[in-house]
Symmetry: C2
């Protein structure tokens, strides 16, 4: 499969990213909505939005992407706001690839650390394993953060 | 001193809040800039901005304020994004008053918890004491989060 990688987003990516995130089955309706809004924010405000993107497409369909950015008020700390891989293309190392390329972009921009947050629920076990396999350390867990019984885990990787 | 309390923000509050936050001496230039931008965001997007305000004014001068909102993707968890009291009016319980009124507004909106984040640096000791005195618990500390030697402390209060 021939992948095309790009950083610039366009109007069509709002729907494309919503389609991708919805297709994974792991994001809520609110999360899918917001994932699209971050593209809108980038299109409207450019770099000052604070949102950067990396997209992998095949035949103009987005099959993996990340959204990341410098965490306000920090010295070269970055947040991995979103990462998603199309369900039809998972289990082939594409998640690791898009993450690694994102970390390289962050490092090239001077970034020292990447933070990623996710739910502590059992259904996210494969997400936890994904981060841990890729060098992320769990640095905090906030109990009942999203809702009762649903904690937030904060991961960090030193670049 | 006669205080006037309000929730609606107007164009003049962008400068007013920047003046207030700058005057405290504890916020960086970037933080003062962003404090104003949140008012702009509220004026532009209304409630969908996610930013709510409580302002205490005296003779049309803002002397204390909070900016707060529902944390996206959470069930009735709120973030206290900003709290500031004019330096000339500190040490008279106004911080506690604006915080208590904000918590009441959050509770009236159905909020169950309030989260607040601050630097762990020694110069913020009075901020830490302020939160602890007002029923906030330190639930996590992320080392070197803002920069090397500058941690982020996360506080939480159950309403």
């Amino acid at each position: 499969m021939k992948l095309h990688w790009r950083h610039e987003v366009c109007q069509a990516d709002i729907a494309g990213i919503r389609q991708l995130t919805a297709g994974t089955g792991v994001f809520s309706a609110e999360e899918i909505q917001v994932a699209g809004e971050l593209v809108e924010s980038r299109l409207q405000h450019g770099e000052s939005s604070g949102y950067y993107f990396l997209l992998a497409t095949s035949d103009d369909r987005i099959i993996a992407y990340t959204c990341y950015g410098n965490i306000p008020f920090t010295d070269r700390r970055y947040d991995l706001y979103w990462i998603a891989v199309d369900r039809d293309f998972q289990k082939h190392g594409l998640g690791r690839d898009v993450l690694k390329r994102t970390e390289q972009l962050i490092q090239a921009a001077g970034g020292l650390r990447v933070y990623a947050e996710t739910s502590g629920r059992a259904q996210y076990a494969s997400t936890h394993q994904f981060y841990e396999r890729n060098g992320y350390q769990k640095i905090a867990e906030l109990d009942d953060f999203y809702k009762s019984g649903d904690s937030k885990i904060i991961y960090c990787k030193f670049l």
